[in-house]
């Protein structure tokens, strides 16, 4: 039983309003794109089962509202995150400039203990739009990713499903790694908790 325990990974998607966070999540989980998505309010959650290196994992992907004030719910929504995806729109300069503040805000709200090593991924979305509209070059984005600690960077189109699975596989791997580090730390610091967790798990397994 214990060997089959699924690893639960929590991933948060952040970024300015209308950069395509919901579209990215929907494309990754349901393989669909719609023009009809409404502005996300509060936060949405969708699970996705994956197999990474023979490991069964369930990714909980949290889509958040773009408007800043809803981020102050942070503590409730961000706690226990294993990875954070920062999204901007390649045709919207402001959304790119805001990436750093999204990261900082997350680190504070989620109360990350080791901020330097917490995994972030940067995604530049909407590359399907015509070249003339694009305002942020790949080079510029890569430079930012590097400056923020060599973060993985992807350019995607949620509309045309470009690079989505690749990006999220990296997200999953980063999250898995983070989860293992956290578990290791927990094992060290609080041996009693393990038993409690195991008990809970056994009660719940059915």
């Amino acid at each position: 039983m214990a060997g089959q325990k699924k690893t639960l990974l929590k991933v948060i998607i952040l970024g300015d309003t209308e950069v395509g966070k919901t579209s990215l999540m929907q494309q990754f989980i349901n393989g669909k794109f719609s023009q009809q998505y409404k502005a996300t309010i509060g936060a949405d959650f969708l699970p996705k089962d994956m197999i990474i290196d023979d490991k069964n994992i369930t990714m909980q992907i949290w889509d958040t509202a773009g408007q800043e004030r809803f981020q102050s719910l942070g503590v409730a929504f961000y706690r226990g995150s294993d990875c954070c995806v920062l999204v901007y729109d390649v045709t919207n300069l402001k959304s790119f400039e805001n990436l750093t503040s999204w990261r900082d805000e997350f680190l504070i709200q989620a109360n990350i203990k080791d901020p330097d090593n917490f995994p972030f991924i940067i995604i530049g979305n909407k590359i399907d739009l015509e070249e003339g509209k694009r305002l942020i070059s790949t080079k510029k984005a890569q430079a930012l990713s590097n400056s923020l600690g060599n973060l993985p960077y992807f350019e995607t189109s949620a509309k045309e499903s470009v690079n989505i699975d690749q990006a999220f596989e990296v997200v999953a791997r980063c999250a898995l790694k983070q989860e293992e580090i956290m578990e290791f730390n927990d094992d060290y610091t609080d041996a009693v908790n393990i038993n409690v967790d195991d008990d809970n798990y056994n009660n719940c397994a059915c």
């Binding site: 023009q35 409404k38 502005a39 309010i41 509202a65 004030r69 809803f70 409730a76 009660n203 059915c206």
Partner: protein, 747 residues
């Protein structure tokens, strides 16, 4: 005897009256409240099941009405039938036969200030009759409304004081028929309530329960009959359901279970319920599951869900709904607070399917119903409480929303005439123009005000994505699925000087009006400004009202109460989440324990639901159905939390039985989107509210120092938190955004 076509204004026609009927408030006879028991036809076209049975204390009556009722009491007029004394016409003290049509003020259904009460016949479930016996000096009746929480007091017939009853007894004795016309518990002597039962039988079918002497079901349905009059049960009754094997099977099981229950026990006990539950859990459902799963339509549905537990939960819910239709007594957890269970009954906290179906909501209010509430000047001729109550219980048909919402949203006060409202409308229109001009005519602001520009971007982005699937807001370009999703947005469109009124911006002129309303609201409430989610709140309003200025004020008023949801620090949302959590703890303790185990007790999945009042979980029209009920503040200004509670209550068994983790619970709740049955949930919300209120009152009473029996000793009484207590208030909770300064961040 012909019924009159018109009634005097505000009056109803008396069909029955009995004097010296008492409520025994305490055991001290000095506290007794004397009054009249009446049956009144409220409107000329009221149907039999719309008649009002009411108790009117003597002190509440005008002299005129009292005379009318005494007259009815004494001469025993039996409504329109007038057959009781038809053989004794010449016997009425030599007077001319009295004119039959008499009117009194239309009785009120409820009253806060007095002991008066009334109930429409179709809202009554049963009537319990205790005839006068040698051991019972005074006969009594108790009316049981379908809403089980509306407990009405027993009415005692003081026969020796009632001139009418004394006269009737005398006449009966003269004819050597001293016995009761309605033989209840064997022959009994004629008494005051007897005539009431006979009279009521003219207007409603009374079926006596074979399980409890003196318990009459009023216009009972077949299901009621199966529950309470089992000897009329026959095997043909399930035939209608044969189209669906599963139904039939469940029906059969339930019927058998019910039989066992009813034949084995005089009253339904927790033990018996548990037995039924066990039977269903252990034997019946797995079999049904097999058949159920084999059905192709079920297979199709299941393809959409890859998680076994979610599938199982959905299946279980469908079973539950099926079972409820069959009025199954599913009884849940065994956790009762001793106090509640001793005082209010051991199944009090739960909503039995029976209870829910009894309390089912009325049909929506139509134009005709609505117009009845107003006189020719357009003044309300009923109390606000009455019309609010009706709206709360019925909801509104689409064509009266335009009128009714303006009252509900406080644009027009209820106590105005048509001409006053027209005047008011004019001044509101002028005021709106002012707010609109403060941005529209101010080009400096449009060009230089950073906050304004930021808000503009935000509003445009959201409007573009607001209810575009609703016809009213669809793109005039037609097939928009092929549109470039950013075709309006080239990174700079808001910097362009778009022509106001230029439809091409959203390809929909209604969205342009919404834009103007939101910009103007941004001026009106400068501190709050536009926040994501407000589009959702505005869309249904404008879609119904279709008048820019009026919608603006309706929206502003709606925002008065919703502002707390949008303030920067989200304190209003947090307060509601905490209150909801406490409410779940209080009302659904078992579920709460389970949620806690699953790390879901913060109920965060209700965040969005509460933020925009279920707008995203319901269809556009269902949203309207819900909101107008909420706007009445009939029971509580925070009734929306009871709606949330009702969702959990409805699904609590499934969640507890089949969902073991955070993951599954979230997913299950998420998947309820688009599948919420608003009417059923509103019924449950009301029942839950009434129970909540009763529990709070009970706890308040007992903690006020009154000694309570020893049974509660082991269970500490839970104090009622301030959060929970505010749920009993109808006052809107107002929380304002802090004053905006140059330091305040945008967004």
């Amino acid at each position: 005897m012909k019924a009159p076509k018109t009634f005097p204004p505000g009056k109803g026609q008396v069909l029955y009256a009995k004097s010296k009927v008492y409520i025994h408030v305490t055991s001290n006879k000095n506290d007794n409240i004397p009054g009249y028991l009446t049956i009144v036809k409220p409107f000329p076209d009221s149907k039999n099941d719309e008649l009002i049975i009411s108790f009117i204390p003597e002190l509440d009556l005008s002299i005129e009405d009292k005379t009318t009722l005494d007259y009815f009491d004494l001469y025993g007029l039996d409504g329109e039938k007038n057959d009781f004394y038809s053989n004794n016409k010449n016997d009425i003290n030599g007077k001319n036969f009295p004119q039959i049509i008499r009117f009194i003020d239309r009785p009120r259904i409820s009253s806060i200030s007095s002991y008066a009460f009334g109930a429409v016949i179709n809202q009554l479930y049963t009537i319990q009759v205790r005839p006068k016996k040698t051991s019972l000096w005074e006969g009594s009746i108790i009316l049981h409304p379908k809403q089980e929480n509306d407990k009405l007091p027993a009415l005692f017939f003081h026969d020796d004081e009632s001139l009418g009853t004394k006269r009737e007894q005398k006449l009966k004795n003269q004819n050597f028929e001293p016995y009761s016309e309605n033989q209840i518990g064997g022959n009994s002597l004629y008494w005051g309530g007897d005539r009431f039962i006979s009279c009521l039988k003219n207007y409603a079918t009374l079926t006596e329960s074979t399980l409890e002497t003196g318990m009459f079901l009023i216009n009972c349905t077949q299901e009621d009959a199966m529950n309470f009059v089992p000897n009329i049960l026959n095997n043909d009754q399930n035939k209608d359901d044969n189209s669906y094997d599963f139904n039939a099977e469940v029906n059969q099981v339930l019927t058998t279970a019910k039989w066992n229950l009813l034949t084995g026990l005089a009253s339904i006990t927790g033990f018996a319920k548990k037995q039924i539950n066990n039977a269903i859990d252990n034997k019946i459902l797995p079999q049904s599951l097999q058949k159920y799963v084999e059905r192709s339509e079920v297979k199709k549905i299941t393809d959409d869900f890859d998680s076994a537990s979610v599938y199982l939960a959905k299946w279980a819910l469908s079973v539950q709904e099926e079972a409820e239709k069959n009025r199954k007594m599913i009884i849940g957890n065994e956790y009762y607070k001793e106090l509640i269970s001793v005082e209010l009954g051991d199944k009090f906290i739960e909503l039995t399917p029976l209870e829910v179906s009894k309390a089912a909501r009325r049909g929506k209010m139509n134009k005709e119903d609505w117009n009845k509430f107003f006189d020719s000047n357009g003044s309300l001729q009923f109390t606000i409480h009455e019309i609010i109550g009706q709206i709360f219980h019925s909801g509104l048909e689409e064509d009266i929303r335009k009128d009714a919402w303006l009252f509900l949203l406080g644009v027009f006060p209820w106590d105005t005439t048509v001409s006053e409202r027209e005047q008011l409308k004019k001044s509101l229109e002028n005021n709106y123009i002012e707010y609109k001009n403060s941005w529209k005519a101010d080009l400096t602001k449009q060009e230089n005000d950073a906050f304004w520009k930021d808000q503009k971007v935000r509003i445009y982005k959201d409007l573009k994505r607001t209810d575009r699937d609703v016809d009213f807001f669809k793109s005039s370009k037609g097939d928009d699925s092929d549109d470039d999703y950013d075709d309006d947005y080239d990174g700079s469109y808001w910097n362009e000087e778009d022509e106001f009124g230029n439809e091409t911006l959203f390809h929909n002129k209604n969205l342009l009006v919404m834009r103007d309303i939101l910009f103007s609201y941004n001026e009106l409430n400068y501190n709050l400004g536009y926040v994501q989610g407000m589009c959702d709140l505005l869309a249904p309003l404008y879609c119904v009202l279709k008048d820019e200025a009026i919608t603006f004020w309706a929206f502003s008023n709606f925002m008065e109460r919703m502002e707390r949801n949008f303030v920067r620090n989200l304190s209003g949302m947090k307060a509601q989440m905490v209150t909801l959590t406490e409410l779940v703890q209080f009302m659904l303790p078992d579920l709460y324990v389970h949620l806690e185990k699953c790390d879901s007790s913060n109920l965060f999945f209700f965040f969005r639901m509460l933020l925009v009042w279920f707008k995203r979980e319901l269809s556009f029209l269902e949203t309207m159905d819900l909101w107008e009920i909420m706007w009445t503040d009939y029971y509580s200004s925070q009734f929306i939390l009871f709606f949330a509670l009702a969702i959990l209550q409805k699904h609590s068994k499934i969640i507890m039985k089949t969902l073991k983790g955070f993951d599954g619970i979230l997913r299950y709740i998420n998947d309820l989107s688009g599948k919420l049955d608003v009417q059923d949930l509103l019924t449950r919300s009301e029942l839950l509210f009434l129970k909540f209120k009763q529990m709070v009152e009970l706890i308040d009473r007992t903690s006020a120092g009154t000694s309570f029996n020893s049974k509660q000793a082991g269970e500490p009484v839970k104090p009622i938190s301030d959060e929970l207590r505010t749920l009993l208030s109808k006052e809107i909770v107002i929380e304002k955004e802090e004053t905006r300064t140059s330091e305040t961040p945008f967004g």
